[in-house]
Subunit: 303 residues, 2 copies
Amino acid sequence: MSALDWIAADWGTSHLRVWGLAGDHVVQQAQSDQGMAQLGRDGFEAALLALVGDWLPNGQITPVIACGMAGSRQGWVEAPYRSVPCTPLGATLTPAPTRELRLSVHVVPGLKQVKPADVIRGEETQIAGYLARNPGWDGVICLPGTHSKWVHISAGEVVSFQTFLTGEMFALLTQHSVLRHSVAGWDSAGFADGVAQGMERPERLMARLFSIRAEGLLDGLDPALARARLSGLLIGAELAAAKPYWLGQRVAVIGADGLAKAYATALAGLSVPVSIHDATEMTIAGLNEARAHLPPSERPCVN
Amino acid sequence: MSALDWIAADWGTSHLRVWGLAGDHVVQQAQSDQGMAQLGRDGFEAALLALVGDWLPNGQITPVIACGMAGSRQGWVEAPYRSVPCTPLGATLTPAPTRELRLSVHVVPGLKQVKPADVIRGEETQIAGYLARNPGWDGVICLPGTHSKWVHISAGEVVSFQTFLTGEMFALLTQHSVLRHSVAGWDSAGFADGVAQGMERPERLMARLFSIRAEGLLDGLDPALARARLSGLLIGAELAAAKPYWLGQRVAVIGADGLAKAYATALAGLSVPVSIHDATEMTIAGLNEARAHLPPSERPCVN
């Protein structure tokens, strides 16, 4: 196994994922449920060491580059938002305080947009990774997830972006609402049908959600069909509202396997030229880009 | 105090409310959190007796008329839905099994609509109460709540109706979502602003919800303004989708005080002739109407 020379960390609200790398080659990986929401400011270093402590070579400082909620106001250290239009990564990273002498930690700042007010934390790194892999690419990046992001890229800069609560809404409805007993499983045709309905009349969303419940009561609607249609209705409404982003553009979808594919399928159905890219791969590529911004003393001689 | 001759019961998912009446005059009232969701089929009678046991005169049978979820499949006894178009109350009530000899219990059936699939349980009684008070009234009844209902009334019948998940969505977002720490209090101007935004571009709902969070982070958005705007956005989107119901119609809003007023204010702003009516009053009036459908042997001689 190659010697590890830096560590990439994706620190979300609910999870921490880390990778040990030799250059851009992953040699170790681990994860835990020690997301930002579980931790007080003093808990971050211990949560990180619990995963990477055994990886650290003695007698040297291993740099850690982190993105995501570790840089939020409730995180390890606040990495203030940078304002768009700007490149996804800036010239500086924010150092986090550490006691362990074998590591130094730097956090990637998020992005903010003044009007309409919007914020990004974590996805800027995936965007940087995608642009590093595709230099000179112009178009729109769609990052589906708990809070889906649509991002307009031009000349290497994030020009504007918009966030939708779609993924969180799906979780709330399937876990906490009156629909929770009516939905389970997946049905591809039901998803496509929901997307079409959601796009055609997005304003009817709240009524169509209750229809799922009513069809369950009256017609014994199949729970797999119900869950897929629910997802489709939400994503369809998002696509209707995001039309100014995707219309006449090429779209790169960056996300986890199933969800990215669902968005890509829906976009392809609208004749949008679309490609799919793995979120984890883009995160690591972006953190590798960010590593170039480390202070020279902490930059390992691997480039 | 006049002698009680019947009992009205509004049995919801989360609460049970009962009134003891002499004719149409309330002489007793009580409530508990023994809603349908808390009870197995065998628990309903005990939950009712816990509230009304002390009211029951000896040596006679006191009739109880119940509406709401007590008549659902998971309720005390299933009172099968009646299909619209139909009058809000039918000719028969569904008897519930009882062991206590001093009471007889009958449940009001709900209404169903085949296409688009939709159901009502409880609001049919409020509608019946409203029509009893306003004979010959034609128009649209709006019943805001956890699941808001818009109901088209013509010639004393429910012609069609549509349910929106609006109230439940507000509860989910304020209690379980990323917005829960950003919203508290109320601001009337913020509500009006939200309604206008929600109506104008209902398809942007999921994006505007995240904007509330982003404005909180970036601009320190006042939590009272945030909560009122959230409510306004949801109600505005509902009004946009319910336009086929209210456009060119007079609307009777039946609901609890604050919420009914919020809907009425929004409708009045759209130049819709609107009146407000208390939900409890309409429920009791409707149950009093239903009492006329009791089997003759159980009908007290008070009319």
